[in-house]
Symmetry: C2
Subunit: 143 residues, 2 copies
Amino acid sequence: MAVHEVHISYKQGMQFETDSPTGYKTFIDTSPENGGNNDGLGPKAMMLSALAGCTGLDIVFVLNKMRVEVPHFEMTVKGELTEEHPRTYHKVWLDYHFYGAHLDQTKINKAIKLSEEQYCGVMEMFRQFAVLEIGVHFHSSKG
Amino acid sequence: MAVHEVHISYKQGMQFETDSPTGYKTFIDTSPENGGNNDGLGPKAMMLSALAGCTGLDIVFVLNKMRVEVPHFEMTVKGELTEEHPRTYHKVWLDYHFYGAHLDQTKINKAIKLSEEQYCGVMEMFRQFAVLEIGVHFHSSKG
């Protein structure tokens, strides 16, 4: 049975340090209007980053398997918070942007579909609390 | 309507860079057995860090409001993954550890209860996909 474990310790102000099963450490903090110094990731938005990171890793993994060169790509994730407390993301938009003159759109779409339907555990968790809208955008150059 | 937005861009190997509404940037990566270099947070485990960060901020916020000195504290979060794919955390253990000779246990417990019941949006999202077990531990010293 696979278990992931993380440790988070309070530093000062509103700042925390977190590790990850990879051993990498980073900071969590909040904005000055909430008493922090912006010296770390916002915890709620970390969920949005986790979603993009999870599906992003799937896409690199699948394209590598297909022997398709991984193009430059970026993701934007937007999460709309509920009005009522505790505030949760009830609607989430995930947009993929791929850049390059010769993008293999068919294989990229296949990789995204595999992530959505079979691989991405974070996306599956999001589906339990949010409506997810996915957009895929191909750009011939970074423009 | 409050919307959070993050941007994630592919760097190389299995590494991504993410920002956060705080403006702070950090890396996402995976372990060598999954093709990465451990040079970033693991995306799935970022969810566990987000949970601890969210409730941790609540606790600092509430203790500050109560004019209780915030003691050193740490959290451990364990998430058990399902066997079936996509793998999600179906069971999560969140343990708070507070350290100090004169801990105000009543007020600390009150702060945790407020986070659990009213403030922590990440915890509320977790409850939609996982069974959550919470433990609170008081230690008279770090030793």
